[in-house]
């Protein structure tokens, strides 16, 4: 440890640059590679229909400032198309409960698995985590038959339940591991201070678990918001209840005759996830337990 630190301190600036160079290059490369398609999509969404059909998005660059290359009509069409605003609201109505329900259940379950001693908790936890192997596609038909019997098909609760169910194993797994890593002396201290399990959960564990709750909320939000299959199967194509992804697919038309609208529609549907991600991403950096115990 000490020798390593000394060796590190002795390195010159040049050696450090050489050492970090491959990592930095890789990070930049990945960032650029992942950004190019999105950027292309953004450019395309502002181009007139015939331009899109006739040439690639990069061809705008020689004379970027030529107004003939740009148009807002795609966005106008998308936003004025009947049902798009409604689909946006439907997506919200599906996504918010489908995020809140599994997080609430998983938080309780994770606390139990992490801090309550009951027989068989390890087996049960393994079982819950093991459920992650169930493929979504295989479960669709059985669930649909079940929903038919309870007359749930085409209703929002059907989608909430499906997403909650499929999100729970990962949620329980993530939350339990995070809660289990909180310092046990803090919980013991609260026990001695007179707190029961519910108080410990509510007053200590939940506030301290905000980073992991936020992380999972982001994952689940993006997953549900972007989901097409589950919404299509359980909600269907009916304009009254269809969600954004389904509406988007319809927009292009059955034979793709309006596919020039897709980039603009995609960006409209991306706005909310972007806001959610950017506003919660600081919680990815864990730092909330600083100062509790010496570390």
């Amino acid at each position: 440890m000490t020798t390593a630190t000394i060796a590190g301190a002795k390195k010159t600036g040049l050696a450090r640059i050489v050492e970090r160079w491959p990592v930095k290059t890789a990070v930049w490369l990945i960032a650029i590679l992942w950004t190019i398609p999105s950027f292309g999509l953004l450019v395309t969404s502002f181009r007139p229909r015939d331009d899109i059909r006739g040439s690639g998005w990069w061809t705008v660059f020689p004379d970027v400032w030529d107004k003939a290359h740009w148009t807002l009509s795609n966005y106008q069409t998308v936003l004025s198309t009947g049902g798009f605003a409604n689909a946006f609201l439907n997506s919200l109505a599906v996504t918010i409960p489908a995020v809140v329900i599994p997080i609430t259940i998983a938080a309780f379950a994770a606390y139990g698995f992490a801090w309550m001693d009951f027989p068989g908790r390890h087996v049960l936890f393994a079982l819950v985590v093991g459920l992650m192997v169930v493929p979504l596609q295989m479960a669709l038909i059985p669930i649909l038959r079940l929903y038919t019997r309870f007359d749930l098909v085409g209703s929002f609760p059907a989608v909430w339940l499906a997403h909650a169910g499929f999100g729970l194993p990962l949620a329980v797994y993530l939350l339990r591991n995070y809660m289990g890593s909180l310092p046990s002396s803090v919980i013991e201290s609260a026990q001695i201070d007179g707190a029961d399990h519910f108080t410990i959960f509510w007053r200590l564990i939940l506030p301290l678990s905000v980073p992991v709750l936020a992380s999972f909320a982001i994952f689940q939000f993006l997953w549900v918001w972007n989901d097409f299959l589950v919404a299509l199967v359980f909600l269907g194509l009916e304009p009254r209840s269809q969600v954004l992804t389904v509406a988007l697919a319809n927009l292009a038309g059955n034979r793709g005759e309006a596919e020039h609208l897709l980039p603009a529609a995609a960006f409209v549907s991306m706005v909310l996830p972007m806001v959610v991600f950017l506003s919660l991403q600081r919680y990815f950096v864990r730092g909330l337990t600083a100062g509790s115990v010496k570390g």
Partner: protein
């Protein structure tokens, strides 16, 4: 406030390993009792059993007159201070201290009064609005103490509360802790591995040792610090208490009329009768092989003692000297195989093998006055205060004439 009684307390884990066995302790009302021992000796487990964080599998635990074996921690009316402070990171210092009181539905005014008073005592009033992460280690430690104080519990349980602080702060907090206890007078059980902390803080100190299948007992000796130092019950306690550690060497006693001589490693010194009186039954052990113990502080350079008795002197070749300013430590070797009983092996741990490699020499350390002109390689005459010599049985390590520690009675009688 209350007394705490441990009646034959034991702990066996579900997998069958024993961590604690047959611990009997009567902790008096208002007493400061220290549990001390090397790591793995079960001291923290005992404390956690008193707190209710660890299930008691054997024996009975009383707080006051109430049997509390099955009482959950929150109903035992005790407060605990953890080594890593265990503060609630998302709460302000005030809320940290008030948390336990709020849960007990105490009126707001009373909570405020108690927290402010404790904060004043601990000099943390200015930090009441801060979060723990904005505090230094010493300040966090005070908050942890404050959280215990405001509860006004029957007893404080402290699990190595100072060991995360740096050396200087530790000494300061030790003094403050001692003053605090004088002021509050709350029964305190304090766990540490630091024998200096144990000696300076404890009214009584319980020295503990890891259990073994043959000896399922942790307690070695429970006594006030001076008694532990002057009359250690066996080699384990003798070697653990005192810094630098007690010197030990194989040797024997010879009676020559009224005079008794201690013979070890080619030396022969006259034993003061006081030392013999402190070891009842020593007369019957004349000529037997014993372990002789001499603390470093019971040496002095012959040149610095007026009228030094030539019969109480040894001459040594100085190997190493350590000048500490107000004292000098002189290290030398005696021509005798090192004392290596199970007690000593346990104390030395991994260092025991190293010691064995050292071969047939026994290391000794003597403390002499700082103005003794001595350097490595010198020949030095040392006077021994033989009134303070200790004699132990070489097989089981129990002090001659002492009541053996629990679990070792049979070995001593055989």
């Amino acid at each position: 406030m209350a007394k705490i009684t441990l009646d034959d307390i034991g702990k066996i884990y579900p997998d069958g390993t024993r961590a604690v066995g047959h611990v009997n302790l009567d902790i008096q009302d208002g007493e400061f009792l220290v549990l001390v021992g090397p790591s793995g000796c079960g001291k923290s487990t005992i404390l956690r059993m008193i707190a209710g964080l660890e299930e008691i599998t054997e024996g009975k635990l009383y707080i006051g007159d109430q049997l509390v074996n099955d009482v959950p921690p929150k109903d035992r009316d005790i407060a605990m201070v953890f080594q890593n402070y265990a503060l609630y990171p998302h709460m302000s210092v005030f809320d940290n201290m008030a948390f336990g009181l709020k849960l007990r539905k105490m009126p707001k005014e009373e909570i405020k009064r108690r927290v402010l008073e404790a904060a004043e005592t601990l000099e943390i009033t200015e930090f009441l609005d801060r979060k723990p992460k904005a505090l230094s280690g010493g300040q966090r430690q005070r908050v942890a103490m404050g959280r215990a104080i405001v509860r006004e519990p029957k007893a404080f349980l402290m699990d190595e509360p100072l060991s995360n602080l740096d050396a200087k702060l530790r000494v300061q907090m030790r003094t403050e802790l001692s003053l605090l206890h004088k002021r509050l007078g709350t029964t305190t059980v304090y766990v540490t591995h630091d024998q200096v902390e144990a000696m300076t803080l404890g009214h009584r100190v319980a020295v503990l040792r890891a259990v073994s299948p043959q000896r399922p007992y942790n307690l070695q000796q429970v006594a006030p610090p001076t008694e532990l130092f002057n009359e250690p019950v066996n080699l384990f306690v003798a070697g653990f208490i005192g810094s630098p550690a007690m010197n030990m060497v194989y040797g024997h006693l010879e009676a020559d009329g009224d005079t008794v001589w201690a013979v070890f490693a080619g030396n022969r010194v006259k034993v003061d009768p006081v030392a013999l009186e402190r070891h009842p039954g020593i007369d019957e052990r004349m000529g037997d092989r014993l372990v002789l113990g001499i603390r470093p502080g019971n040496f002095e350079a012959a040149s610095h003692v007026a009228g030094a008795d030539p019969d109480k002197q040894i001459e040594v070749n100085v190997e190493v000297t350590e000048m500490l300013g107000n004292e000098t430590f002189v290290h030398f070797l005696l021509d005798e195989e090192p004392v290596m009983t199970p007690d000593i092996q346990e104390l030395l741990g991994a260092a025991a093998e190293e010691e064995a490699v050292m071969g047939h020499k026994t290391q000794f350390t003597a403390r002499v006055s700082p103005d003794v002109p001595v350097t490595a390689g010198d020949r030095l005459a040392l006077v021994i205060d033989t009134a303070k010599m200790h004699f132990f049985d070489p097989t089981h390590g129990v002090r001659i004439g002492a009541t053996p520690p629990p679990g070792m009675e049979a070995m001593v009688q055989s």
